[in-house]
Amino acid sequence: MRELIAQAWTVARKDLVLEFRTRTALVSAVVFTALVLTVFNFGRDPTAVPTIDLAPTILWVTFTFAAMLALNRAFQLELENQALEGLLVSPLSRTSLYWGKLIANLVFVAVVEGVGLPLFVLFFDVPVGRVLVPLIGVIALATLGFVAVGTLFSALVIRTRFAELLLVVILLPFLVPPLIGAVQVTARLLGGRPLSESVGYLKLLAAYDIVFVSLASFLFRFTVDE
């Protein structure tokens, strides 16, 4: 067990060192997020609908797309460096590989969201002050679900044609349930509603995370080997 965690951390650390050293993927993802938020601004009529009504949608559509872009990096990195085969030849357990990639992906997406959220608040003048902590909590819950399934699928598409496009197509239906939960909770938080009103959705998010993190972790070994 300890070895599992240690190896996962070795993989994650290597990924993060590489991502922060080369920075291209990270910067691109952050810029993409900023651009999407900007586009949203021009895609609406501020006189017709108050921003606050659209805010949760804007936030979550932006985060969803940013996450999907970010997910490609995990195995793309290995392919670019011709290292995937090396990982599979080594005694690294497939489960450790999954967890390592999951952790690296989560950190990556967290950085992107960490820039995206303040930008969102800035661009759309959204009052998050009092609900910042629960908001971050919801973002974390939903992101975990997205990235858990996305990491599994990003491995699945490596050996297929049109991998990036296929990843998006197969992943999006899986993002709908957590997305619904996330948007609803965000809307209630921004609307000043008490947290108790969001309990159903929070349970949905938590259940989704538990089920899909376990499932993806288990199924990973069937996707990554030749």
Partner: protein
């Protein structure tokens, strides 16, 4: 140390099926170096991948004493992260192969020294020349001191000088006799591998059509036998 039993593996289905392995069995112990000669498409890479555990054979089994930890692989892919330094790469792989933390640094230094790369240790891999990158890949394969070395066409793309260097290096690295490693080398060029070999096999369409100690035979004899086999004639030399 390394044994294969009745390996069978095919790709595809029905009429379009390609049989990559068709009943391969052999046994190797330390100090033996098996050179597998075969034309492209003979199934050499598939065999090595099965030995390494990358592919699970449809039939048959492989036993490697000590499991994946004892296998070092040198193939077409470099297994090196371009933006990490040579040392960082070695430390990473050492960690995955279970080398204890305290021994990783010294081990890396040792291997780099042996390969004449000590002064390049802290250069990123992308900045290395092709020959040096190849040596770094070998360092990666040796970092955990494996008892089995699998090499898939390691001489590809090397000029004569570099190839000779690699041969010399492999000769050193495999050790000798009881303490030596098991080496399996697959190549389509007889000259490349014949001197190193203690045993020779010819692979054609998934089968070993010849497997024997090299004896004292030199490259030209082996090449002749190989040519006959490839032309579809003799099944033994």
């Amino acid at each position: 140390m390394l044994s294969a039993e009745g390996l069978r593996h095919a790709f595809g289905e029905g009429g379009g099926q390609v049989v990559a392995l068709d009943g391969v069995s052999f046994n190797l112990t330390s100090g033996q170096t098996l050179a597998i000669f075969g034309p492209n498409g003979a199934g050499k890479t598939t065999l090595l991948k099965v030995l390494a555990g990358l592919i699970r054979p449809q039939e048959g089994s492989v036993r490697v004493a000590g499991g994946r930890r004892e296998i070092g692989w040198i193939g077409h892919e470099s297994h090196l992260y371009e933006h990490l330094t040579v040392r960082e790469n070695l430390l990473f792989w050492a960690s995955l192969y279970g080398v204890p933390a305290a021994r990783r640094g010294p081990r890396a230094a040792l291997v780099l020294g042996r390969l004449g790369m000590s002064d390049r240790a802290d250069q990123p891999v992308w900045s290395l020349s092709r020959g040096l990158a190849q040596r770094a890949a070998i360092a990666k394969a040796l970092i955990h001191d494996p008892s089995v070395l699998l090499l898939d066409e390691p001489f590809t793309g090397l000029d004569l000088a570099a190839a000779a260097e690699l041969r010399a290096l492999l000769g050193e690295v495999r050790g000798g006799g009881a303490g030596g490693r098991v080496v399996v080398l697959a190549t389509h060029n007889v000259d490349e591998g014949v001197e190193l070999a203690t045993d020779v096999a010819f692979q054609r369409r998934g089968r070993f059509v010849h497997f024997a100690p090299r004896g004292g035979r030199g490259s030209s004899e082996i090449a002749e036998a190989y040519r006959r086999v490839v032309a579809g004639k003799a099944t033994d030399a």
